[in-house]
């Protein structure tokens, strides 16, 4: 790979769940001009007060190494792992997709949802809310297909990710 090639990186960050920690991470990205494609955060261990942040970012190899090092030196950060570089991993995102239509379009929306294994979690005479999980690409493909069928609203979680195999972060 060329040094100047831009690649995507999914980075998992284990942090102390304390006030301001997300602001530190976001401030680091904005302050140093790094990209954030997606960012998720939630507590993952309430006893130890750990939260896990998953950031999807892009940059050259040098930039991504920088991002990891910069994250690593934040005081409340325990671990930083570049899942994209460190072996196989699973990435998932969840979306809630509202489609408002009637007649043939409504039937077609339901049919496509079935193919994508999206579940209808709310339904009225003239709308559905579908819940769909999968890779971000799959979600985007589904949303694109819903567009001509009455797509009304979308809410996506952003990516969560974990490495394959027995090893923890």
């Amino acid at each position: 790979m060329n040094n100047n090639d831009i690649r995507k990186a999914t980075i998992a960050v284990l942090v102390d769940n304390e006030p301001g920690v997300l602001a530190r991470v976001i401030g680091l990205f904005s302050g140093r001009g790094y990209n954030i494609d997606s960012l998720t955060v939630s507590e993952v261990d309430s006893a130890a007060h750990y939260s896990r942040i998953t950031v999807v970012t892009r940059g050259t190899e040098m930039i991504i190494t920088q991002i990891k090092a910069q994250l690593g030196r934040l005081v409340p950060v325990h671990k930083v792992s570049d899942l994209s570089a460190e072996g196989p991993h699973v990435e998932r995102e969840l979306a809630l997709v509202k489609v408002a239509s009637t007649g043939e379009k409504r039937v077609e929306a339901l049919r496509i949802a079935d193919i994508f294994r999206a579940r209808a979690v709310d339904s009225t005479i003239d709308s559905f809310v579908f819940e769909i999980t999968g890779s971000s690409e799959k979600l985007s493909a589904f949303i694109d297909l819903m567009r001509p069928l009455g797509l009304a609203d979308v809410s996506r979680t952003g990516v969560v990710a974990i490495s394959r195999g027995p090893k923890a972060i």
């Binding site: 530190r24 920088q66 690593g72 030196r73 005081v75």
Partner: protein
């Protein structure tokens, strides 16, 4: 009452004492009055009352840099805290350990736009290494101890602890400094031995080696400088230092090439460009050092030692990165070097030195002296001569031409005696920093080499200097211009001197007197020596107004964004380095 039960304010005093603090620099206000009350009732901590909070942070920096200890600041909420932002940023850029305690409105008023409320942790998040808002008095002692640990370990830096008024008035339980490791923050100090072996192999094979060291060596403590000097002496490798690193090897060492970078020496910059193995120790390839990054040292293998992993591969890719504390790594490097009985390539090194000597022979800091007017370089030359042989001298500077000349002309034999705002370039740094150094070393000779513009930025601290009878010396190179701005306007803006003339300057002699100090003035080169002698001999604070040539420029100069071999020499330099290169350099002028 149990011995470890006390109010938050009492805890703060106790925690500071337990952390070995003896001096704090501060300024009171509503939110910190309980803390000031606790300070009033004890005799261990000395409080230095500054005249503006910004001065307190720079004073704490001067204290920290001249002692290797953590500098401590105490200020009130709102404007007290916001006045600290420049100093905190300065300390962050230069990796200076500071703990800054800021008052805050009571917890129930936070977020209320209460009187003198500011979102201090929000404002200072990007300009501190870390910051805390303490919401419970029972977290206070632990947080303070942690703040000291974070400030001084790893790559040092400023830490803010924001203290709501109700927290400092409530009673809670004190805990002593914890021995326990921090949960997440435990910087690596030992370097990877495999990498160190690689470095030794590379250095032993080098034909044109260069040691390039910076402030990280100073921060790693005097032992690191000692080890670096031993390595340099043993190998006879040429060595350059950054603005922040001056003193890490003695200026008198025959291996020392002078400072590197925009206004560094010809030999240091040419060596940077032409070397084949570069040993970078505790420096960070700052843009003022590298110049044009894609033309930087194109043919060298780079070994980079730094405690901060994020400094490595940031600007310049390292071939051998070694993460850890300079002192530990230099110790291992020396051990491996000796164990392997490594020897430099003597013949190649001799040829390299020959080349260096021709650059050195150009005397790139040389200036044309005058008997009519004091050249700023001459003033510092003479000051340096008068300081020779003394080891109790601490020099600070403001920012501008005088700062660069001070770096070029004053010799530092030891670390921790030179304090200048390197990363942020903060005008107004030097006077409070000299004051902080003087507080730490009451009998030493602390001199702020100043410009007449910069000195006005924190001139109020003359009043602090008077209050504590600190014999700080202010040596103003008065060129009546924001000289560095004027120089850039001359070179790059067609001589359109927009707003760089210092009109309506004060009479610095009278100003000194107004603050109870001694004022001296000199404009005749023949009288300069006497005035410097008088300044040094005066037991009080002194301001010396040295009227210097207003037209003088700092040379050599690598214009921003140019390569090292495009260095512009002084117009007084007769020889021509390389016609093409010079012309190219001139395009920018």
């Amino acid at each position: 009452m149990a011995k470890d039960r006390m109010t938050g304010s009492e805890m703060i005093v106790k925690a500071l004492i337990d952390q070995g603090v003896d001096v704090i620099f501060g300024y009171p206000g509503g939110a910190v009055l309980p803390i000031y009350d606790a300070i009033f009732q004890q005799n261990h901590l000395r409080h230095i009352l500054v005249r503006q909070e910004g001065g307190a942070v720079h004073a704490a920096e001067g204290y920290a840099r001249s002692t290797g200890k953590v500098g401590v600041v105490l200020v009130t909420s709102g404007p007290g805290a916001t006045n600290c932002v420049t100093g905190l940023t300065d300390a962050l850029m230069d990796s200076i350990p500071i703990v800054c305690l800021t008052g805050q409105v009571p917890t129930h008023l936070i977020g209320n736009d209460a009187f003198q409320e500011a979102d201090t942790v929000g404002i200072t998040r990007p300009c501190t290494k870390h910051n805390y808002l303490v919401k419970d008095v029972n977290d206070l002692a632990r947080t303070l101890h942690e703040a000291f640990h974070v400030a001084k370990s790893g790559r040092p830096g400023p830490v803010v602890v924001d203290l709501p008024k109700d927290v400092v008035t409530t009673e809670g339980t004190y805990i002593p400094p914890a021995r326990a490791r921090h949960r997440s923050y435990n910087p690596q100090v030992k370097g990877d031995i495999g990498r160190i072996e690689e470095a030794v192999a590379l250095l032993a094979k080098a034909k044109r080696p260069l040691v390039y060291a910076g402030g990280g060596v100073i921060n790693a403590g005097p032992a690191a400088s000692q080890l670096l000097s031993s390595f340099v002496e043993m190998t006879n490798f040429p060595t350059t230092l950054t603005l922040m690193g001056l003193g890490a090897v003695p200026a008198s060492s025959k291996n020392f090439l002078g400072m590197v970078g925009m206004h560094g020496s010809l030999e240091a910059n040419m060596c940077m460009h032409d070397c084949d193995v570069m040993l970078c120790v505790g420096a960070r390839f700052d843009d003022r050092v590298t110049g044009r990054i894609d033309a930087f040292s194109p043919n060298s293998k780079k070994i980079h030692i730094d405690i901060d992993a994020s400094s490595i591969n940031k600007n310049v890719p390292a071939d051998v990165p070694i993460i850890g504390d300079c002192a530990y790594i230099l110790e291992d490097l020396l051990k491996v070097w000796k164990a392997r009985q490594a020897k430099p390539d003597g013949k190649a090194l001799a040829a390299w030195w020959d080349k260096i000597e021709t650059w050195r022979g150009r005397k790139s800091f040389a200036y044309k002296n005058s008997s009519e007017i004091i050249k700023p370089q001459y003033a510092l030359d003479r000051l340096n001569a008068k300081l020779k042989g003394r080891d109790d001298v601490y020099i600070t500077t403001e920012v501008g031409q005088h700062q660069m000349w001070a770096a070029q002309f004053i010799d530092f034999e030891k670390p921790n005696h030179w304090m200048t705002s390197g990363g942020l370039g903060t005008m107004g740094y030097g006077l409070p920093a000299a004051m902080g150094a003087q507080v730490a070393h009451p009998d030493a000779l602390c001199i702020d080499v100043a410009g007449e513009a910069s000195i006005m930025m924190n001139i109020q601290e003359m009043s602090t200097i008077a209050q504590y009878r600190l014999p700080v010396k202010v040596f103003i190179l008065n060129n009546r211009w924001m000289g560095m701005v004027r120089q850039w306007q001359e070179f790059f803006f067609g001589g359109r001197y927009s707003e760089s003339y210092m009109d309506s300057l004060p009479d610095f002699v009278k100003l000194a007197e107004a603050f109870g100090a001694v004022g001296l003035r000199v404009s005749d080169p023949a009288k300069l020596d006497d005035v410097i002698d008088e300044m040094i001999a005066t037991p009080n604070a002194v301001i010396v107004d040295v009227e210097v040539d207003p037209a003088e420029n700092v040379y050599p100069m690598i214009p921003a964004g140019a390569a090292h071999n495009q260095i512009t020499m002084s117009p007084d330099d007769e020889a021509v380095l390389d016609a093409d290169r010079r012309e190219e350099g001139m395009v920018l002028v």
